[in-house]
């Protein structure tokens, strides 16, 4: 595949010494697969990213040479597994510039991280009449847990509206915050529109009224540098599988003082201090929130994933995706009948939703699949946003650093074919 984009779209940061794209792509075994002679063109990284060999090897090495349960074993491989597991925690803490490893709690995914806060912090801190502020572009995972919490506690759910470009409209933020808001739960980047939200600004104004701030980082942490101390958020939730890591593990960052005041969520082995038949006392953070045998191999793989990303450099990842997103938006705009949703390139990341005339997104995706091009079609777990966009569904192409402009060109050819088949 000719890497024209490495020439035509090289941002300033991609000089000699920056990663060689051909080598980067070779790290991902799946990117050299094909079906009936057609190479896989994977444009669905916002759903889940592909994984480099280094991540798979880190997990296989654990299983094949030092597989053991952690934290309680005194023999060598158990100590080695414990050290690798805790090194994973430290690596993830560094990746988001958390003050200490103890700020990081492992969960299954972003969704569980948010539910942990809703159950543990929420059920004890939200009182009848309190309000929780979220937005109209949230993923169901950052909306439904707050609906359930609000209903259970008799609290109110408020929503930041969107402007016509799909940006959060902050005009009334202070007015909303003044309505008894105790928690603001907002995503840093929309998985549908790509919008990057000003969470640092929102956190500043939320803290001014004493509210806590949870940032859904599922789409931001994988794609650009995120610094929890700069954002000054109280919680940050994200998933390994969207950032070249394995399935089955995610993380919740929490401010130390907030985590320490929270009761346990799930109970069981390893999260206790002392148990009698009648009652128990609980371990310190983060163990308090990690009940039972954890996703040991997956945490080790997650550690390898952030190491891989750090070696690429998150600035490089951001700049490369910016260039690819610009090219993608430009390419799509040139196709007659294509409607693109979301803000301009400088306010967004690489998840791009669109429609082709009135062809249903499923039909678009199925036709593209005939060319082995993988895009997502549907409501993307954002039904309320679909309502605002006045569509049932969209087609979404999403890029990661390993994509190429050639792949975007192939997408364009596929979309022209969609138009011909459907005569639209």
């Amino acid at each position: 595949m000719l890497e024209i984009d490495a020439i035509s779209l090289t941002p300033a940061s991609m000089r000699a010494g920056t990663p060689d794209l051909a080598k980067v792509r070779a790290d991902f075994p799946i990117l050299s697969t094909s079906r009936e002679g057609k190479p896989l063109i994977y444009l669905d990284s916002a759903a889940t990213s592909q994984k480099p060999r280094a991540v798979l090897d880190a997990m296989s090495t654990y299983y094949a040479t030092y597989n053991a349960n952690v934290h309680r074993g005194v023999y060598a491989i158990s100590e080695q597994a414990t050290a690798a597991y805790e090194a994973g925690r430290a690596a993830i803490a560094r990746f988001i510039n958390a003050p200490e490893p103890e700020n990081v709690v492992f969960t299954r995914n972003t969704t569980e991280a948010i539910n942990l806060v809703a159950y543990s912090w929420g059920r004890h801190s939200i009182k009848p009449g309190d309000a929780i502020l979220t937005s109209a572009l949230e993923h169901h995972s950052n909306l439904v847990p707050w609906q359930m919490l609000a209903e259970e506690r008799g609290a109110r759910l408020l929503h930041l509206p969107l402007d016509a470009q799909g940006r959060l409209d902050l005009t009334d933020l202070d007015g909303l915050l003044a309505q008894g808001v105790k928690l603001v739960a907002i995503s840093q980047m929309s998985n549908v529109l790509g919008t990057i939200n000003p969470v640092a600004e929102i956190a500043r104004r939320a803290h001014a009224v004493g509210a806590l701030v949870l940032v859904d980082g599922a789409q931001s942490v994988p794609h650009f540098p995120v610094d929890v101390q700069a954002l000054d958020c109280d919680f940050l939730a994200f998933s390994a599988h969207k950032m070249v890591g394995p399935t089955g593990v995610g993380a919740l960052y929490g401010r130390r003082s907030v985590l320490e005041a929270m009761p346990p969520f799930m109970a069981g082995g390893s999260m206790i201090k002392k148990v009698t038949l009648e009652r128990s006392t609980y371990a310190d953070v983060p163990q308090r929130f990690e009940a039972g045998t954890q996703a040991i191999a997956e945490v080790i793989g997650f550690g390898a994933a952030v190491q891989y990303l750090s070696e690429l450099g998150m600035e490089w990842v951001r700049d490369r995706e910016h260039a690819l997103t610009a090219y993608l938006l430009e390419t799509l705009s040139a196709i007659p009948g294509v409607t693109i949703y979301g803000p301009p390139v400088d306010e967004r990341g690489g998840a791009v939703s669109f429609n082709v005339g009135d062809v249903h997104p499923h039909d678009v995706a199925s036709l593209l699949d005939e060319d082995n091009i993988a895009v997502r079609a549907g409501h993307h777990c954002c039904q309320p946003l679909m309502g605002l966009l006045a569509v049932a569904a969209t087609t979404r192409a999403s890029v990661y650093f390993y994509n190429t402009t050639d792949e975007i060109d192939a997408l364009a050819r596929g979309l022209h074919r969609v138009r011909r088949v459907f005569g639209s």
């Binding site: 499923h362 039909d363 199925s366 036709l367 549907g378 679909m386 049932a392 569904a393 074919r417 459907f422």
Partner: protein, 128 residues
Amino acid sequence: MSSDLYQEEILDHYRHPHNHGTLENPDATFEDSNPLCGDIVAVDLRYDGERVSEVRFRGSGCAISQAAASMLTDMVVGQTRVDALAIPREAILEELGVPLSPARVKCALLGYKVMMAALYGVPDHNAK
């Protein structure tokens, strides 16, 4: 330009659906959707004795779900209720005549599910 999936007949049904619309005071009506993709199909039936004398469907969704629903209305109209209920799900997949992946089978069978529910006389939970 040719597609394995989107054969001319399917596209024809999609562009020009048969028995499309609503019935005034139908004898049976049912609507359902596929929660994962949002496709919707609603069916109205009128009987003449034991026989399905009129069918109308409406909905929104992908070409597969809408074409399959259209094809199914042709298969049902004029049949007795008992014969219509005996139509196997394979019949509609055969009628489409293209290889469907599991996700698209769900699309293809949405109309079938709705039709069978209408024929059985399942109360329509969407009706107020």
